[in-house]
């Protein structure tokens, strides 16, 4: 049994707007083990990014607030930490990679300045030690001639290289958990393949736990050990990647997998889910997928389905499990 790094219990995050409360994340629970990659998949607006930001407590306050639940990182509930203590966690214990490297890097500072910043902040090393640490972080993400790169600015690098630099910054303080929010969406196909392979290698070397937020099932299949499927603020199904693809249970998971065009299969028509995700301001009664579901029964439209364990690490929130 491997060590649990992060345990999220019944996390609830809301945004308070003039139109009312938007429950972006509504009772989400999951855990990540050491050296494991957990995928969180879902469509835009399902709450996957907000889940990631909640763990780091980086919500846009005061509109966004965590209203309930626990986020336990190696025994400490992050929600009970002061702002100052939290700053010691960010970047050191947990770090994050965002979608677009051009917006997560500062265009007017050199790469060296930007990597050095977090190392200096968190590790209290001498100048010499800092530089060594920085170069080894850049080596970890396989950047050729890192010493030269330190003096360059982000605009001088290609998209793939920039995202590697972001990866190096994230890994520079040896975090225990890495949250990657759509890290390859802005990259080209062959560069994405390179980056994902690199990710796996870094994980094998450092045993870092990764939460991989994505909408791309191809990336999930390639990268993740376990997957949680999110829909309208809730996780509807959690399973090992293999089981999720072989035997998806929840109708949303099934529909989502079926609607992805496959390169190795030629179909004449794609399966498509009718309608669109509900507005988070105006959620349907009962199961949130009910209005779009093709196999719904009466109870689905009335009561929220309970989460049921149906196997080893496989759970689903669905009324028709039995």
């Amino acid at each position: 049994m491997s060590k649990i790094i992060l345990q999220v219990e019944d996390l609830r995050t809301s945004f308070f707007t003039r139109q009312g409360e938007v429950r972006a994340v509504d009772g989400v629970s999951f855990h990540v083990n050491e050296g494991e990659t957990l995928g969180i998949v879902g469509e835009s607006g399902c709450g996957k990014t907000v889940t990631g930001l909640s763990i780091l407590r980086l919500l846009p306050e005061p509109a966004g607030r965590i209203v309930g639940g626990k986020i336990i990182l190696e025994g400490t509930n992050l929600l009970e930490l002061s702002k100052k203590e939290m700053r010691g966690v960010r970047g050191k214990m947990i770090s994050m990679i965002l979608q677009d490297p051009m917006t997560s890097l500062n265009p007017v500072y050199t790469i060296g300045d930007q990597i050095t910043e977090s190392v200096r902040l968190h590790q209290g090393l001498s100048d010499n030690g800092v530089e060594k640490e920085v170069v080894s972080a850049l080596r970890l993400v396989k950047i050729p001639s890192p010493e030269m790169l330190l003096r360059q600015h982000p605009f001088q690098l290609s998209g793939g290289m920039r995202q590697r630099v972001v990866g190096a910054i994230a890994m520079s303080c040896h975090p225990h958990l890495l949250i990657a929010d759509e890290p390859t969406t802005a990259l080209d196909a062959t560069i994405q393949a390179q980056y994902l392979a690199l990710f796996k290698e870094v994980q094998q070397k450092t045993k870092v736990a990764i939460i991989f937020i994505t909408h791309d099932f191809g990336v999930v299949a390639n990268m993740c050990h376990r997957v949680g499927v999110m829909y309208a603020g809730k996780i509807v199904e959690t399973a090992s990647t293999r089981e999720l693809f072989k035997a998806p249970k929840h109708p949303y998971t099934t529909a989502l997998i079926n609607s992805v065009p496959r390169l190795d299969q030629k179909g004449d028509r794609l399966y498509s889910i009718e309608g669109q995700p509900p507005s988070m301001m105006n959620l349907p009664l009962g199961c949130r997928f009910f209005p779009r579901c093709s196999v719904a029964i009466e109870v689905c439209g009335k009561q929220e389905p309970p989460q049921v364990e149906i196997g080893d690490e496989h759970s689903v929130s669905w009324w028709r499990v039995k």
Partner: protein
């Protein structure tokens, strides 16, 4: 034998790199280098490649948004150079329409859907208001929207619905060719399928031809009849979509396909080894000599780095690679 609607012959587009002060040209960015293709009536040709491959430049040339450096485009067998400006306006532009990638930036937020869809009709035809109104409603119905949607503004719609509005606008003038620049890549997974199905239905109904620009191979396989794989301004492989995906010949095509296959973690190492290319696409400012792909190719030979391979016919495909000499 299907009828050829549009043909591109040796299309080339070089952008000048100028020195700021006197605007004299110091170099050229070779965005597109002598590519040729044909689009048949009622069929789909997809241009596939990574950013910088020249696919959007090609699409812009077809839409007459970019002037070609050399090469010619033939529409229904007639060279566009031989069209007079008024003929282009009457006979070409209305027949070649476009749907852009991002439905959030391709519409004027201050116009109602009714006016967005009607605009091409107002500009290009002399129809009465009543005729236009009924055509707009007909178009809305064709793309699966309701007639009461006509009085709303774009911000009131989801991405999928906006893309439907963009399709309706493109169809307003009964085009024969629609250029679809990454038509679904900005949309969510479950919505993509809806739009792709819609596009296929409309193609069958109106015998439309599509020129699709895409980087997602799975989407391409589902949509296309023929495919051209582009790399650094050249077509490296071109052929029937089915054949090309079943038996890719060029090493770059194989790498692209490998990158988009759905492989479960457990399947790895069981024969289907993933191909991961090293390095990145070189700059079109200074393309490598010989085969342009040789800097990243895993199957390189002596001549690859100095002799430029021709696009030659192998089986039913055309491929630009020394392995098939």
């Amino acid at each position: 034998m299907a009828e050829t609607l549009l043909e591109g012959r040796e299309l080339t587009k070089h952008y000048p790199v100028t020195k700021e002060l006197l605007h004299h040209t110091v170099d050229w960015i070779r965005a597109v280098n002598g590519i040729s293709f044909t689009i048949e009536r009622g069929k789909t040709l997809s241009l596939v490649g990574e950013s910088g491959a020249g696919k959007t430049t090609t699409a812009k040339a077809v839409l007459l948004q970019e002037k070609l450096t050399s090469g010619s485009i033939l529409f229904k067998g007639k060279d566009l150079h031989r069209f007079t400006p008024s003929q282009l306006k009457m006979e070409y532009r209305p027949k070649v329409q476009a749907v852009q990638q991002n439905p959030w930036s391709s519409m004027n937020p201050r116009m109602r859907v009714r006016d967005i869809i009607a605009e091409p009709l107002v500009v290009n035809t002399k129809q009465s208001k009543k005729e236009i109104r009924s055509r707009v409603l007909e178009l809305l119905e064709q793309v699966g929207l309701r007639s009461d949607h006509a009085d709303h503004y774009p911000h009131e719609f989801s991405g999928g619905q906006r893309q439907r509005i963009a399709v309706a606008r493109a169809l307003a003038l009964h085009p024969s060719l629609v250029v679809l620049d990454e038509p679904v890549s900005a949309l969510d997974v479950s919505i993509r399928a809806q739009i792709m199905n819609l596009l296929k239905d409309l193609q069958a109904k109106h015998n439309l031809s599509y020129l699709v620009i895409a980087h997602n191979l799975a989407t391409v396989r589902y949509m296309s009849h023929s495919v051209a794989i582009m790399y650094l301004g050249q077509i490296v492989e071109y052929g029937d979509a089915e054949k090309l995906f079943e038996q890719p010949l060029h090493p770059y095509t194989r790498a692209l396909i490998s990158a988009s296959l759905l492989t479960l973690p457990e399947d790895e190492g069981e024969g289907s080894k993933q191909i991961i290319l090293s390095g990145e696409m070189p700059s079109p400012l200074n393309p490598p000599p010989g085969c342009r792909f040789h800097t990243r190719c895993g199957e390189i030979r002596d001549r690859c780095s100095n002799v430029v391979p021709e696009l030659r016919v192998v089986g039913q495909q055309r491929v630009r690679c020394h392995h098939y000499d």
